[in-house]
Symmetry: C2
Subunit: 458 residues, 2 copies
């Protein structure tokens, strides 16, 4: 009857300390989402399969977790279909629901379904778990948390400015300085493909370009040639392989490169607007960089593209990203809704804060004070104080059993509880509580009022 | 290609207002969990099937959502098994994982798996979603949130006292006064069955007794007779059908009824301890009642049993419950771990607060202030103030487009934004911001410093 205690691969249990650290990050992000006027929504953990299938490409479809229909699920299966014994065909007959793969498609579904209750432009945030049947590996899980903020129903570039500010404010709050907000624009990429005469190879062109930091200039050129992009075309965009300088000088370079592309000019205009506004509203700790190789899910984004790089000291890759998409809700029948959004990568931000030692010390503290249990009368005396401390929002515990002193002190120590109260017969007589500071070993007696004061201010 | 926008039956989308109201409840509960020294853990949304199957009885097994194996899941299925076309048999060959059905079994699995990292007694809380393939109906969903707190590794009755205090403090914080904490003890039920000579019909006896408030005295007697309990046995416990009076007088009654039952006496002792302590530490707004008909999952509980009744004015049934179980982790091979825990019913508490109008007004407010967008220069001037307000934790928005005034004002109104700032050319010249209070229509000009002050304090 006894089952082995284990969890599915790619999933995780979170210990109290891990939950607290994750909560520190998500609550910081959520606080700023709210300050920026975003409102929370939540969608179910699973959706109807047809809401999700076909939205993430073939590879995505394979990674979607399907839920088996309940009850006698084979009863409704056509026997012809059953006899084929084909996993893919059978799965659509025995499964109608699927775990959500990301927050974006369910959000699009939500917007369409609730369009009459929503006041557009709709600024929403969502912090929920998503599920992917991916091969688990370091930093890649089958259940993980996404933190997204999007605005839907406006194509104003002020939103792009605000998302850059939002990234800056969140990472500054987390004391994670030196984050780089890399930006690009789909229109720049289209412009580049256009001026080299390879507009119909836009995807191949950008997929190759996106790999510059991984495979280097020669690697990118090789891939472009393989994809049929001509040698002379590649020569024409040579400058972008060594694209140096600040945001402003990169824009100047692009202006000359893209002088013959209307769409390219439009992209430059958008980037210039953002740059101009941010000169008036400087970022706190992040830097903004123009990265013309940045593509990220190009099929999806139609304007701005963002990606966040962790500070250079940490080898981590992207810790966030996003961009503008012009027709997200079209798949559910609601046309012409421009949207723009960003995402924070909780797991990677966690690893970065851990590596740089940026989690605040307070996170480790759990309960503020443990009352030692010396027996029934003493425990009642203790619980009276415990109740008053809790009423003052000071977390307090009474050790449940009159166990050996050493055992109770070890519990306090291992739990990182900074204070212990010892109150026996003599303390009861004088109506005081003897407070021991665990770090220093110091002990002092306090009346209940002074105990509350002492622990409120420490 | 366009899919219909809908969600699976029994699941819900939560709008911003609903998320805020739910968060108001869960964050209140979590605050007090922490004040009482409970620590948060989280477990995955899905577990290995053998962790869950067989733990909730046959009915429970049927209600567990199973996840289809990924990839070519039929490849490994034995063709003999496949040819039988039996849903139940096939499901265990094509599904290895299942969505969690409650928080308790995964918690037991967690304790066993992490026993070497845990400092016992382990006080943990968990607020997570669970999934049941139940027939959806009013107030019953296929995905819902459970809020549990348990202590494992101590059989101290101080825990029972603290859980009663915890219920009282949480509902008092939520301004939900008049909640009744109904209590019983498995040992009382065993004692009653013993003194009437029906110990081997304990389950039938208590299942019938548990229905007293639904089917009345005659109904209960009828069911007991049908189950083979004798007429004279029923006569012997007649007093409990009309069990009136306060906690203390009920205990006195039980003392005479159970004078010949050792286990019954033990149950009385436990109840008396709790009563004695609570006389010294009176509850704030809840009342404690002894309800000898209360059974709740009797097979599970071994000592105290709790159930929370909403205030009488509201027809709602139980809004929480719990009890002591002596061997929860035994199913995973860790013996002799006594545990006691309680649960809060989020959805029902939500309905009760809604019905009694107890959600605070502030929940409806979203963003504090909207800045009207009059065009590019004005918007930049506005965004400078918006950024400063946000830095002071005042939620602020700039309307993204220079739309018609009426449209922007309507947006503020529908979003329940209490303040609007109008800043055009003349305000920019005088370096002020014109603040309009939506409720009164009042308008006044403020410097940025005074604007921050004004909005911080309102």
């Amino acid at each position: 009857m006894a089952s082995k205690a284990s969890i599915p691969k790619g999933t995780r249990d979170f210990s109290p300390l891990e939950v607290s650290k994750r909560h520190y990050i998500t609550s910081t992000i959520q606080k700023h989402f709210k300050d920026f006027g975003f409102q929370p929504i939540e969608t179910p953990s699973f959706e109807n399969s047809d809401t999700l299938m076909g939205k993430y490409g073939d590879e995505g479809d394979r990674l979607i977790f399907k839920i088996l229909n309940s009850g006698d699920f084979l009863k409704k299966v056509d026997s012809g279909v059953y006899d084929e014994k084909d996993s893919l065909k059978l799965s659509s007959s025995i499964s109608e629901k699927a775990l959500k793969y990301d927050l974006t498609v369910p959000f699009a579904r939500y917007v369409v379904q609730h369009q009459n209750e929503i006041d557009f432009p709709f600024k929403r945030y969502q912090v929920q778990n998503v599920y992917r049947a991916d091969r688990p590996q370091k930093g890649r899980f089958r259940e993980f948390t996404q933190c997204d903020a999007d605005v839907i129903g406006s194509d104003s570039l002020w939103q792009e400015v605000e998302f850059i500010q939002l990234y800056d404010v969140v990472f500054s709050s987390l004391k994670l300085e030196g984050v780089c907000i890399k930006m690009n624009n789909r229109k720049i990429l289209s412009g580049l493909a256009e001026v080299i005469g390879e507009s119909d190879r836009l995807i191949d062109f950008t997929v190759a370009l996106d790999k510059l930091d991984k495979i280097g200039e020669e690697g990118v050129k090789k891939e472009m040639l393989e994809k049929g992009i001509s040698q002379s075309a590649i020569e024409n965009i040579k400058p972008i392989f060594n694209f140096e300088g600040d945001f402003g000088s990169k824009i100047e370079l692009l202006k000359s490169l893209l002088s013959n592309s209307e769409v390219g000019q439009k992209g430059i205009e958008e980037l210039e607007f953002i740059q101009k506004v941010l000169q008036e509203l400087p970022l706190q700790t992040a830097t903004l960089d123009l990265d013309v190789t940045l593509a990220r899910g190009l099929n999806y984004y139609t304007g701005a593209i963002f990606e966040i790089a962790a500070p250079e000291a940490v080898k981590m890759g992207s810790i966030g990203g996003g961009g503008r998409y012009d027709d997200l809700t079209g798949i559910f029948g609601l046309k012409n809704m421009s949207g723009v959004g960003i995402s924070f990568g909780l797991d990677r931000i966690y690893l970065v804060l851990e590596e740089l030692g940026l989690f605040p010390q307070e996170i480790k503290e759990t309960t503020k004070v443990l009352f030692i249990n010396f027996g029934e009368d003493e425990a009642l005396y203790a619980l009276k104080a415990v109740s008053k401390l809790r009423a003052s929002s000071i977390s307090a515990e009474l050790y449940p059993d009159p166990a050996k002193m050493k055992k109770q002190m070890t519990y306090a120590d291992r739990r990182n509880i900074p204070y212990v109260v010892l109150a026996g017969g003599s303390e009861m007589q004088s109506e005081v509580y003897n407070l021991k500071t665990m770090k220093t070993g110091e002990q002092e007696s306090y009346s209940i009022e002074n105990l509350i004061n002492k622990l409120s201010n420490s």
